[in-house]
């Protein structure tokens, strides 16, 4: 699936609910599901600095595709992290670099992407794109 298709899928899943509570319940469920990062990577080295909830991110590169795993100590953050991984993990560096994460806005989670939000999600997207950039340079 293309990132656009995955994003549409997520939008459809969320559009079943009008209510913020149902949306957050779904997000929380997704947070519980997150394929957890390998314990060896849950170190300060893999920590994304955000103010309050901590996010760990790991990336690997196989068959010219970037694979991400991540974790967070806050479950809502983890839910959103999971969405980002669903969209970007397993994609090529170029696709990741070009990806627009606007779907978070469409499912009503825009405020979590504010640079001033204390959860480091914007830094996480930056970090994912940085990895993609590094792997792209390696390929060249």
């Amino acid at each position: 699936m293309t990132t656009a298709e995955i994003q549409q899928q997520i939008i459809d899943e969320f559009s079943a609910f009008d209510d913020w509570m149902d949306k957050y319940n779904l997000l929380i469920e997704m947070g519980k599901d997150t394929p957890v990062i390998d314990a060896q990577y849950k170190t300060n080295n893999h920590l994304i600095s955000g103010c309050q909830s901590r996010v760990w991110l790991h990336a690997s590169f196989t068959d010219n595709k970037v694979f991400f795993t991540a974790d967070s100590d806050a479950i809502i953050t983890k839910g959103i992290v999971n969405l980002l991984i669903r969209v970007l993990s397993g994609q090529s560096p170029d696709t990741i670099l070009a990806a627009d994460m606007g779907f978070l806005d469409q499912i009503g989670l825009k405020e979590h992407l504010s640079p001033t939000r204390s959860n480091g999600l914007l830094s996480m997207i930056k970090q994912m794109k940085m990895y993609a950039q590094v792997f792209k340079l390696k390929m060249a």
Binding site: W20, M21, Y24, N25, I28, Q52, S53, A74, I75, N119
Partner: protein, 408 residues
């Protein structure tokens, strides 16, 4: 306001309280971070800028005279409110943080030598911790830290033991912004004074809640910010005893604090101007005066009673939640409730409360040593002001319950 105080009347004076957040009525419980402002304060500043604005102190023209008089009258009012002996013992600053940095830098310069020490507590806000820590670092001096109990109380015996090490300066908070503890400052100041040690009290969390009499307390310095006491941002107070302020070197240079300047040397102005460099924020100072008058009109007795009810009720109601842990359970507590529920991250709880219109603060509250003590990363903190209601506590508690259900 007279003796009969109507909470609805009070609330009607705070425009910011009457708004919807995500279509829910705002329940504002982040008052320890900053309070909302009554219309009288907002209007005072509005009027200043519409009719009175001028730079002060050096102007012979009417607007400047008038603004200077209003500014100095505000100083006299503050001095009177906190029972300072002289109006010139009241220095206007940008806020509590600037006031503490001023004293740490200037009194530190005056008193601290290599191997000396400064005593603070482990429950300080970073603003009353880091300036002293860094001063000690610069001076090769030692920072002594008085620990607190699991209930959030300071131990006066340990305090006495640390005073025995002869620190040159003691600085601690009147009320903890994280734990809510009201410290026994009068006793602690007395103990320090027996050894001739000057004491700075961080009143950032007390001026909105408790009457302060600096002469009765006999503290050497007392600082607070207007914005945590219904006043505007950008104004704060450093009270200092004349005998210290007279000896201390200036902190910043320029403007009214200068007396005579020549290319080779400079002499400085008298108190309070010596410590007020640059154009002061006249509007914010007038707003602060109005805010303190507002507090006075409501009355510290009424405020104390009312907020006590809110905290007690909130604590009782929250206690029904399984696995809730409170941080700060002193018998002497101001209007702050810090807590965690089970393994739930404060960020998650805060995010869901926000969605229900309830504004609380989550995180370390700029008091990381407190978090380290409990081995946690943060708490959820609800803090009350004179305008909060029992009904708001109900909304808050049921929002917490709902959020906990969602997150469990």
């Amino acid at each position: 306001m007279s003796h009969h105080i109507d909470l609805e009347d009070i609330r009607s004076e705070f425009p910011a309280l009457h708004q919807l957040v995500y279509n829910k009525p705002l329940v504002y419980l982040d008052n320890a971070a900053t309070t909302q402002k009554p219309t009288s304060v907002i209007k005072r500043m509005f009027q200043y800028y519409e009719q009175e604005n001028s730079n002060i102190h050096r102007g012979v023209h009417h607007l400047s005279q008038q603004a200077t008089e209003a500014f100095e009258a505000a100083r006299a009012y503050v001095a009177n409110l906190i029972h300072a002996q002289y109006a010139h013992e009241v220095i206007f600053t940008r806020g509590a943080t600037e006031a503490i940095n001023l004293v740490a830098s200037s009194l530190g310069e005056l008193l601290l030598q290599t191997n000396d020490s400064v005593l603070v507590t482990a429950m300080e806000h970073h603003s009353n911790f880091v300036p002293w820590q860094q001063l000690c670092k610069r001076k090769n001096a030692h920072l002594l830290t008085l620990p607190f109990s699991r209930e959030g109380e300071l131990d006066l015996e340990e305090y006495a033991a640390l005073l025995a090490k002869n620190p040159k300066i003691v600085a601690f908070t009147h009320i903890s912004n994280t734990l809510g503890t009201i410290n026994p400052i009068r006793e602690m100041i007395g103990m320090a004074h027996e050894k001739g040690i000057p004491v700075l009290i961080d009143g950032a969390q007390s001026i909105a809640h408790k009457a302060v009499d600096v002469q009765d307390l006999d503290c050497d310095f007392f600082v607070f910010s207007a914005h945590k006491a219904y006043g505007p941002m950008g104004a704060g107070v450093l009270y200092g005893k004349q005998k210290w302020l007279d000896q201390m070197p200036p902190y910043q240079y320029g403007g009214e604090m200068v007396d005579k300047v020549s290319i080779s040397q400079t002499s400085f102005n008298v108190l309070p101007f010596k410590f007020e460099a640059g154009t002061p924020d006249v509007a914010a100072v007038l707003g602060m005066e109005t805010a303190l008058r507002f507090i006075s009109d409501v009355g510290y007795d009424w405020i104390g009673n009312h907020e006590h009810q809110l905290v007690d009720y909130a604590t009782t109601e929250l206690s029904q939640i399984a696995d809730i842990r409170f941080f700060g359970q002193s018998a002497h507590k101001a209007s702050v409730v810090s807590f965690l529920v089970g393994q739930i991250h404060p960020f998650d709880l805060g995010t869901l409360l926000d969605k229900m219109g309830v504004a609380v603060r989550t995180g370390h509250h700029c008091a990381q040593p407190v978090m380290d003590f409990y081995g946690i990363h943060g708490t959820v903190r609800a803090s009350f002001a004179l305008y909060n209601t029992i009904e708001e506590v109900d909304v808050f508690v049921s929002a917490v319950k709902k959020a906990v259900r969602m997150l469990s």
